[in-house]
Symmetry: C2
Subunit: 168 residues, 2 copies
């Protein structure tokens, strides 16, 4: 399923915008390489989040460790790289919890949410300009912490993880 | 919390793109007026979804009824308008399930997810160019249908609703 015509109408640093013609409809689409988020559980039964300034939201948000896929990078490789860079975690037992479109009305971002269990601690290597604070919550605290979350992938990821736990 | 400088670098039909300077950092942001999604439960205990072509996703997706806020429109008013237009539902008992940012790394879309219970059936009035098919699932089917969902707000909304039901 492909458009009849497609042209780039904005070239940005983080994303481009494409104008597509589908029959008599035009669609304006934010291009995106896809992204990942990780529910990382350590051997002490804690989940690690990152707290950072999100300029678009005009404040700090608590989110799952996450990031965009680099060119040609498989989502699982992105997930392991981001978890190491942002939180310093390596190893772990990995499961794909879900894949979804974040905002399919206007953006081509497909998000893959992974569970990484029994991850091992190491040193984080945040990107220059990333100012991340790590926040750790015990698994049995997650239900009560949900109201502090204001990020879609994080709310979906935590709820998918709690459902996954109940189903085992 | 506001940027030091801000300028529009792309003016589109559906959205603009702003380049903001925050100290020595630049942020490229998709502007968005905010949006709503509705978990609508009828008196027969069924939840109604809309199935539509999402060009950005190159296929059809099953989603909660949803839409963007118009200028000056309160989110609850948007939710009631969209539910009437897309599904024909009126009335109902309304609860805010959650508000969150859909993609806070690059977009200013804040999403409000409502629960509307005991809605009343009427005639839908879809916007011109909207080709919506209504899909109805019983509440007790939702858990098993989750794997058919590939839209972030819909996955989050369904899981928040199931959690809300369990807590009553």
């Amino acid at each position: 399923m492909q458009p009849d015509e497609s042209r780039t109408v904005y070239r940005g640093t983080l994303f481009d915008v494409t104008l597509e013609r589908w029959g008599d409809r035009e669609r304006e689409i934010v291009e995106h390489p896809g992204a990942v988020a990780v529910v990382a559980v350590d051997r002490e039964g804690r989940v690690t989040f990152v707290r950072q300034l999100r300029e678009a939201a005009r404040g700090h948000l608590i989110e799952l460790p996450a990031g965009a896929c680099e060119a040609g990078e498989e989502p699982l490789a992105t997930a392991k790289r981001e978890l190491r860079e942002e939180c310093g975690f390596t190893g772990g037992d990995w499961t794909l919890l879900a894949s979804f479109w974040t905002t399919p009305g206007f953006c081509r971002e497909r998000m893959h949410v992974y569970l990484a269990e029994a991850v091992e601690e190491g040193d984080a290597e945040p990107d220059e300009g990333e100012d991340l604070e790590l926040v750790r919550w015990r698994v049995d605290e997650l239900e009560s912490k949900l109201s502090e979350l204001e990020d879609a992938k994080t709310i979906a990821g935590v709820l998918l993880y709690l459902r996954h736990r109940r189903s085992r």
